[in-house]
């Protein structure tokens, strides 16, 4: 391989990126060394098994990925702002929309939600950590390394350019040679390990580690949605793992599962991809639903309306999510019967989703609604998500879908559900639980600016795209002619896109501003909350979460205690030594070996891949013979931490 093939050359923007990456790295190394932060970094973060810290790292990574994916989006919108623009060439544009899609779904939406689940769920169920804290660290580091591997592609070797769906045979060696597509396969594969482990970990955590008295039907709705999400992950992700492995075999070892030669079957890839891909959509939307349930109930100062209906509708959605994948390719010619069946199952998903919308509305009915920023995002969700929902039903009508498929109508639809659903939830959840993570709230006034600029920008960006779709503009074109008449609406759309970018910058500024100036919380109950995470005496829970595991007597236990004026005070005699897991550097080291193995496979350097895989097995072997049962936190230390006066 020649140097001009290893490093991406010839584009000034890429050189700019090279320089900024090197400068950032040097800056970080300098900072860590000058302020002697290396030990702090290792002890507090790289080796931690604390679910709250892992959650924060997930969220920080997700925000970085949101920035990366957002820059991709703005580059695309800039290119499409006017007809026949020369800003990006076709290959460059194709790489950017591929990385935009992949990063936003796999490396932004999912980790953002998993991060919030990590921070919140153990606290909500009254647990001290997750069932397998060490495995949780492995989950995070494999996700992080997978994301990093995928991200370096744009300066080293070139990014994948076959779309985030990577349809075969376009993604095969014959039509897309080189490391680009391999980055997609290996990056997703490594990150996928982390996701599957998270699924298992939180399923067990929620089923086995709930505080005494918290029956399944007393669980907070966010915990319920996480539980259902984990079940979907456990059933869906193995499909992705297998599909990616088969394509990797095709590309690296000459097999013919999906290729043009050797009677490969390209339709099989599309089926496997969406058999995972559709449940994946629900993996990123159900936790969002859960968060909105919590937030709407909290700020309406009222019990969730139709708690059981919410759960049953969620279970129905989860079941349906595995029965609708064909709607992603109604146009494949599967025949009238198949298309009819999948049309109906897809439309049927609208029923439980509609039920949820009405339950949220009636949670506010007879409530006392406070317009805090998390609540604004939740209201924005209802108003905008409904547009995504109804256009989803339109797309489900196969006969009509033949006209919407592969157009901007579809692009607009899935941005209306994924942004108004998932991204709004990420922002709402981040703001809502921010005091739990950092001990202070984000500034509300600046937060409202973020909400309005983002929401208006979002509609200005995506609403016109429905009409572009109906006017025949296909997705993934890198430019269009003047005569097509698509110019004005595209310009409007681009303006909206940049408004969203500005809103993101204001959000980041708000983080800085609030870090400097926000009033620090003095209690653990920043929003007058309902669920157990707000019941810790300090704003940020100590690493063991609860000095004494709470006993739950009903739904919204903490809220009811407060209403009855019976919040228990912690007494010194109640405290017993607390068993906690030890930190470990092994997950980080293991993930680093995964990086070596992945990078080797991307470039087809088998010596390097094998060395990396040996390293991975080495760490597994080491772990198998490591006898570490954790340690006990002494009663004195707990009393000290909780500041209990004897």
């Amino acid at each position: 391989m020649k140097w001009d093939e290893f490093f991406v050359t010839g584009d000034p923007m890429i050189y700019g990126a090279d320089v900024s990456i090197v400068l950032t790295m040097v800056g970080i190394l300098f900072y860590l060394t000058k302020y002697k932060k290396w030990k702090w970094l290792w002890d507090e973060w790289l080796t931690t098994v604390d679910h709250k810290k892992l959650g924060i790292m997930y969220i920080v990574s997700a925000v970085l990925m949101l920035f990366r994916g957002g820059v991709d989006a703005l580059l695309m919108r800039t290119q499409l702002a006017v007809p026949e623009a020369k800003f990006l060439d076709s290959q460059h544009y194709n790489e950017i929309f591929t990385t935009h899609g992949t990063i936003m779904i796999i490396f932004m939406a999912m980790p953002f939600l998993i991060g919030l689940i990590n921070v919140v769920v153990p606290l909500q169920i009254g647990a001290r950590d997750v069932a397998y804290p060490y495995l949780n660290a492995v989950s995070f580091w494999t996700f992080f390394i997978g994301a990093m591997l995928f991200n370096i592609s744009f300066v080293i070797g070139g990014s994948p350019s076959a779309g985030w769906t990577s349809y075969m045979p376009l993604a095969s060696n014959e039509l897309s040679p080189g490391p680009g597509q391999n980055y997609y396969l290996l990056g997703l594969q490594i990150a996928g390990i982390g996701t599957l482990l998270t699924g298992i970990n939180f399923l067990v955590t929620i089923l086995k580690m709930r505080a005494p008295g918290m029956t399944l039907f007393r669980m907070p709705m966010f915990t319920w949605s996480s539980l259902v999400t984990m079940v979907i992950i456990i059933f869906a992700f193995p499909i992705l793992t297998v599909a990616l492995a088969l394509m990797t075999f095709d590309r690296l070892f000459g097999s013919h599962f999906f290729t043009l030669q050797g009677a490969g079957m390209d339709m099989l890839w599309a089926n496997l991809f969406w058999l995972w891909g559709h449940p994946e959509v629900y993996i990123v939307i159900l936790p969002a639903f859960g968060m909105f349930s919590e937030i709407i109930s909290t700020f309406s100062r009222k019990t969730l309306f139709g708690y059981k209906a919410m759960i049953w509708s969620m279970l129905l959605i989860a079941g349906y999510s595995f029965l609708v994948w064909v709607h992603h390719f109604f146009t494949m010619g599967s025949g009238a019967l198949v298309n009819s069946v999948f049309s109906i199952t897809t439309m049927a998903i609208g029923i439980p989703t509609g039920v949820k919308i009405f339950n949220w509305l009636f949670t506010m009915y007879r409530g006392k609604i406070q317009f805090t920023t998390p609540m604004l995002w939740s209201l924005g969700f209802i108003v905008n998500f409904v547009i995504g929902g109804v256009t989803g039903v339109m797309l489900a009508m196969a006969a009509a879908d033949y006209q919407y498929h592969n157009t901007y109508f579809l692009v607009s639809h899935f941005h209306y559900v994924l942004i108004a659903g998932t991204v709004f939830a990420c922002f709402a959840g981040l703001i809502y639980w921010y005091p739990k993570m950092f001990g202070y709230k984000l500034n509300e006034r600046i937060g409202k600016w973020v909400f309005w600029v983002f929401t208006i920008g979002f509609n200005v960006c995506f609403f016109p795209q429905y009409f572009l779709g109906l006017d025949g503009m296909p997705r993934r074109v890198y430019t269009y002619s003047e005569e097509s008449g698509w110019g004005p609406l595209n310009m409007v759309s681009t303006i909206g896109g940049f408004m969203m970018g500005i809103a993101f910058l204001i959000l980041v500024y708000n983080m800085y501003y609030s870090f400097r100036y926000a009033k620090r919380e003095t209690t653990g109950d920043a929003w007058d909350g309902r669920t157990l995470e707000w019941s810790t005496p300090t704003a940020m829970p100590p690493f063991y979460n609860f000095a004494k595991i709470p006993e739950v007597t009903g739904l919204d236990h903490f809220w009811r205690q407060k209403q009855a004026g019976k919040v228990e005070k912690l007494k010194a005699e109640d405290i017993k030594p607390i068993h906690m897991p030890s930190n470990s550097g092994v997950p980080f080291i293991m993930a680093s070996f995964f990086f070596v193995a992945g990078f080797g496979m991307v470039f087809d350097w088998m010596w390097m891949a094998i060395a990396g895989i040996i390293g991975v097995f080495g760490t597994l072997f080491y772990r198998s013979f490591e006898y570490d049962d954790g340690y006990y936190v002494s009663v004195e230390e707990v009393i000290e931490t909780e500041k209990i006066s004897k």
Partner: protein, 325 residues
């Protein structure tokens, strides 16, 4: 309510502004029975969707306004946790809506599998459409002619497209005539379309196929039956025959101008049963896909473009300008 007003006003204004342009949007301005059936289904569903949006927005506005936290707040009931009657209503109403949408959808799905109802007794014109990165090859087996990147069809007569691909998965779409269908290597899919008005319609591949995808387009000219027959017989008489060598060059990734031949490639290959043909042809020409960012790729691309130019010349030399259309 005041704080939500700008938002709703803005949305409403935008909707009105865009709906006013509705009739100009090509999907809603079909020129044949297939597209018309789909347009009707789309409009039918849009009314339901507007109804749903109005109900949800009205309810949201009412509840948010009435139960906002303020002085003299009335009706607060923190333990109001459900209502069987209400919940039954919003389980049943969506079910009814889904049924109302499902019936015409299923009807249309079945009817679109065959030729349009009104021209059932006519024998459809059969055209094989083959996608190869990034061009369309159209074979008329009955007329024994072949065109590249353009189509002539008679009006008021159903056309049965037999779709396949020589390489990437493509999607054959002429928005004003009707919805799309995939064209896949080693597979044959069928699509009925029909034009009721004479004119030129844009067609394209709408499924991403890599670098040249954006310009993977073709024109469809709908004309009277007599004109079509005249064009077909003249083409058969005047256009050059397609040689295997020329066809191999068509298999290279790239764009070519419109071309016309008096024989079809179906004589020696049907991509619906032979998925490897294009790759073999590329091998025969010594072509190999290079890493997209490398210098080698730029050279390879230049070589391909020269081959395409030679192919175009070889086609136009042998039959002058007779394929004017």
């Amino acid at each position: 309510m005041r704080r939500f007003k700008p938002f709703f006003t803005f949305g409403l204004l935008m909707a009105v502004f865009m709906l006013s342009g509705c009739s100009d949007m090509i999907v809603l301005d079909p020129k044949g029975p297939v597209g018309a059936e789909q347009r009707d289904l789309i409009m039918y569903s849009i009314w339901f969707m507007l109804f749903i949006l109005i109900v949800v927005y009205a309810l949201t506005a009412f509840i948010v306004y009435k139960y906002r936290d303020r002085k003299n707040h009335k009706g607060y009931d923190p333990d109001n946790e459900g209502s069987h009657l209400l919940e039954t209503i919003w389980w049943i109403v969506p079910i009814i809506i889904v049924i109302a949408l499902a019936i015409p959808t299923v009807k249309s799905i079945y009817s679109l599998e065959g030729p349009p109802e009104k021209s059932k007794d006519q024998k459809p014109l059969v055209i094989h459409a083959t996608s190869v990165n990034w061009k369309w090859v159209f074979s008329y087996p009955e007329q024994d002619i072949e065109t590249v990147n353009y189509l002539h069809i008679p009006e008021d007569r159903p056309v049965l497209f037999k779709l396949t691909s020589a390489d990437s998965m493509a999607s054959f779409w002429v928005p004003q005539l009707g919805g799309q269908k995939y064209a896949m290597a080693g597979m044959e899919t069928e699509l009925y379309l029909q034009a009721d008005e004479q004119g030129t319609y844009e067609g394209r591949n709408s499924n991403f196929t890599g670098e040249g995808f954006t310009n993977h387009t073709f024109d469809v000219m709908a004309m009277s039956d007599a004109e079509f027959e005249k064009w077909a017989s003249e083409t058969k008489a005047d256009a050059p025959e397609l040689s295997k060598g020329q066809y191999d060059k068509l298999m290279l990734p790239g764009h070519v101008k419109e071309m016309t031949f008096s024989s079809t490639h179906l004589d020696w290959v049907d991509h619906a049963t032979n998925a490897e043909y294009a790759l073999d042809a590329r091998d025969r020409l010594g072509y190999e896909e290079k890493l997209p960012h490398s210098r080698a790729a730029k050279e390879e691309k230049k070589k391909r473009e020269e081959e395409m130019k030679k192919l175009e010349e070889s086609e136009s030399e042998s039959h002058g300008d007779s394929h004017a259309h």
